[in-house]
């Protein structure tokens, strides 16, 4: 079963340039979608929901470590927003794990590609999203 996993990531993530993104897209093809954002705090819960509604089995937000956000608290706000999105999806019977946050720990210098690989592995354990059981994903 084809999985599609969406990654919203702060542009501060190590090795997350345009080139890195293109390489990842080449590697995973249709199975991932990558969305760079200036700060994880810019992500709204509706972005996660729209992604889950339209095309993805799971959506992750990758943020900077606590205390290192260049906009001070963007990453902390991001965590709360992911929780909010989780409240909505669990209310309709979707697994909480379909919306996740990866807050890099202090000193974690993993590259975007490594994080994506780790999360993709985890997300693949989830069954395909029931949202697309009877209907098509939007491309």
């Amino acid at each position: 079963m084809e999985r599609v996993i969406a990654f919203f990531y702060c542009q501060n993530t190590p090795s997350s340039t345009e080139t890195d993104r293109q390489m990842l897209e080449k590697k995973y093809g249709k199975n991932i979608r990558l969305f760079p954002i200036p700060c994880s705090g810019r992500l709204e819960p509706v972005h996660i929901l729209r992604a889950l509604e339209s095309f993805t089995d799971a959506a992750y937000l990758i943020t900077c470590p606590e205390g290192t956000c260049r906009y001070f608290e963007g990453n902390l706000r991001a965590r709360k927003r992911v929780i909010r999105a989780q409240q909505f999806i669990t209310a309709i019977g979707l697994e909480k794990e379909r919306a996740g946050i990866y807050m890099r720990s202090a000193g974690n210098t993993k590259k975007l590609s490594e994080i994506v690989e780790e999360l993709f592995e985890i997300a693949s354990k989830l069954p395909p999203s029931p949202v697309f059981r009877y209907s098509e994903r939007e491309v």
């Binding site: 819960p45 509706v46 929901l49 729209r50 309709i92 029931p130 949202v131 009877y134």
Partner: protein, 222 residues
């Protein structure tokens, strides 16, 4: 402003279950301020309901739109042109908005997505507190700008009661004792002697009215 919170999604889904073409209608005023029914929240709810429908193979069209205000006819009337496309409106307006829309379009069911709660202020980001009961007879002058009706659990006008403890209310330790606040505030203005007078019984008829209250201003009419 008027505050509200979204109803549980289960409850909303039960109410919209019979309908096939639903307009999820947001409001950019009070409910946007309290993050319950503004454009963002409307988009979130609509998306979630669509997902639920797809998961359950329900054949239903769910679209969203946000009005500036749902409680003012001039804004609501903008729906005239599109209402034929829907058989129900799920309104994220406050109770006033839901009813204004329902009164204007009586042939289409207007379903509330929110529980309207209180008149209050945005005390801090993500924190809204009640501070006005709409009593129709504002006494804030006498109480230094702290309303004992809205902010004292027993709405005493000659408080405090014996349950004030460390400036908190014994009924709800989450809230400050309004009378402590009143005393502190009046002390700042050296107006504490105002409280030596016995404040007479409240005229509640200004709040209750004879049924729903009304304001008419002829100078404002067309």
């Amino acid at each position: 402003m008027i505050t509200a919170e979204q109803k549980p999604i289960d409850e909303i889904r039960k109410m919209i279950a019979p309908y096939k073409r639903i307009l999820v209608l947001g409001c950019a005023s009070c409910v946007a301020e309290c993050a319950a029914g503004g454009e963002k929240e409307t988009a979130m709810l609509a998306s979630t309901l669509r997902m639920a429908a797809r998961m359950n193979q329900e054949d239903v069209v769910i679209q969203e739109k946000t009005l500036e205000r749902q409680c003012v006819k001039d804004f609501v009337i903008l729906l005239d042109d599109i209402l034929d496309n829907y058989d129900a409106i799920l309104s994220l307006g406050c109770g006033a908005g839901v009813q204004a829309v329902a009164d204007m379009y009586e042939d289409i069911p207007v379903i509330p997505a929110l529980n309207t709660e209180f008149i209050g202020e945005t005390k801090d980001q993500g924190l809204w507190v009640e501070n006005c009961l709409g009593c129709g007879d504002c006494m804030l002058y006498y109480f230094g700008g702290v309303c004992p009706l809205a902010r004292c659990s027993k709405h005493l006008l000659n408080g405090p009661c014996g349950g004030s403890k460390d400036g908190r209310c014994e009924v709800n330790p989450d809230i400050p004792c309004a009378w402590q606040l009143i005393i502190d505030r009046l002390s700042r203005f050296n107006a504490l002697d105002r409280l030596e007078e016995i404040y007479p019984p409240k005229d509640w008829s200004k709040k209750q009215g004879k049924g729903p209250r009304k304001i008419i201003r002829e100078d404002q009419q067309k």
